[in-house]
Symmetry: C2
Subunit: 250 residues, 2 copies
């Protein structure tokens, strides 16, 4: 079952694991869903690392990210075959062994019946000391070792597990985002943006040129946990523009 109140975490990191991601054979597609989910919860995703299926590399990266951020999500390398070594990597990151969790083993035996082999039971391995996180009505829990959430690589299943993340975690406050699409190029916008950035240091101001779109040339974004600060920075920026240079305000 989920906790009665979600745990509050501020910063997050993701470790995406799989040779197929680095060889260009597969287009990584889990990160966008994780990033959007965390953003919606008010948790800041600060760093993503993509690495091969190698035990020492996984252990080293997970240990580093776990120490540097409130929560870490791994994706990939969960399954019964020789290249599924994320659980062992996470265990090694914390200096513990991987062991068979009896509740998971029971679920595998129930699912596979007579066909269940010792090889299937590799999927019941967890780092010693891990907890199992569920929403209460999902079929398979998420293994959580201290602040490290071990998520699957298969995109459809990865997305299902984000329900568990939403039930268990939240950020200290929501993010607020607004944007202005302008008809000016970045060279023209720079002195205006410099003024706004200097006067509104609590707002993250981004500038994104759109090279192949006739509707506008540059989108300016305003992000903060403080909605009024976002509105103030956006208002100050729009006041510096000729109305004809504004394509849209969101």
């Amino acid at each position: 079952m989920p906790p009665s109140a979600p745990r509050v975490v501020e910063s997050a990191s993701a470790v995406l694991i799989g040779n197929e991601l680095l060889s260009g054979k597969v287009h990584e597609s889990n990160l966008l869903h994780l990033a959007s989910t965390l953003r919606g919860l008010g948790i800041a995703l600060r760093r993503v690392v993509m690495i091969p299926d190698e035990l020492e590399v996984i252990a080293r990266e997970v240990a580093a990210e776990s120490g540097a951020h409130d929560v870490v999500f791994t994706s990939g390398g969960v399954g019964p075959t020789h290249d599924d070594i994320t659980i062992e990597g996470v265990a090694r990151a914390f200096g513990v062994e991987a062991r068979v969790d009896e509740s998971l083993a029971g679920m595998l035996r129930a699912a596979y019946g007579q066909r269940c082999t010792e090889h299937h039971l590799r999927m019941a391995l967890v780092p010693d000391g891990a907890e199992l996180a569920t929403t209460g009505d999902d079929k398979w829990p998420v293994v959580v070792m201290q602040n490290v959430w071990v998520l699957p690589g298969v995109p459809q299943i990865f997305r299902m597990k984000l329900c568990v993340v939403r039930a268990w975690l939240k950020g200290p406050a929501a993010f607020h985002s607004r944007a202005v699409a302008t008809r000016l190029d970045e060279g023209k916008l720079k002195p205006l943006l410099d003024q706004v950035v200097e006067a509104h240091p609590d707002v993250d101001v981004g500038s994104y040129p759109k090279w192949f779109d006739a509707a506008y040339k540059t989108k300016i974004t305003f992000d903060s946990r403080d909605a009024r600060a976002v509105d103030a920075a956006l208002g100050a920026f729009v006041a510096l523009l000729d109305p004809g240079d504004v394509a849209s305000v969101d």
Copy 2:
């Protein structure tokens, strides 16, 4: 102009820079093209890091990746506005200043004419000591600081720049990849795979379950710089299967 013979590099890393990637606002789309390009050249992409537009973070990551790999590619944070700080970050990684390159400044003045401001000229900044890489017929060169290639974030322009990478760099030998799609689940396959992996240590064997596809259950991949070793490992694996369990061999 490109060098008369491409430089030979074995391992690569990518540093993807941009708040918009971490906030889930934008789906990162450059990596797949970079990974495929490097794969085709026989260069092993070993690690990818995604980080925000923060000077110290960029400098630290670029320095670490530059020391750990033969070549590093950055994507994003190139342009004239306050959040475009990749050039400064790369300069700081090497302990040098960013300075205006006169040939780039001349190209900007020619392109923007009367409209060219000091702000546009920020795009002529390079780390001191950088070289400019071109194919000889592209309009704008790639800034290369020692082993760090500074590529743009805008996807259409990023892809254009990969021609320069192909003209300048190559790996020590091509990669060879083959695959078998099977109708068996990973639990059944594991003991067979363990045999093949043990007997063919020079081949990277991957196992990818396909959860939502009726045509096969698991794809087994075989990768190496040695084509004969790939064929031998694949042959040994297929010999362990019932013919009816093989959906396809590529």
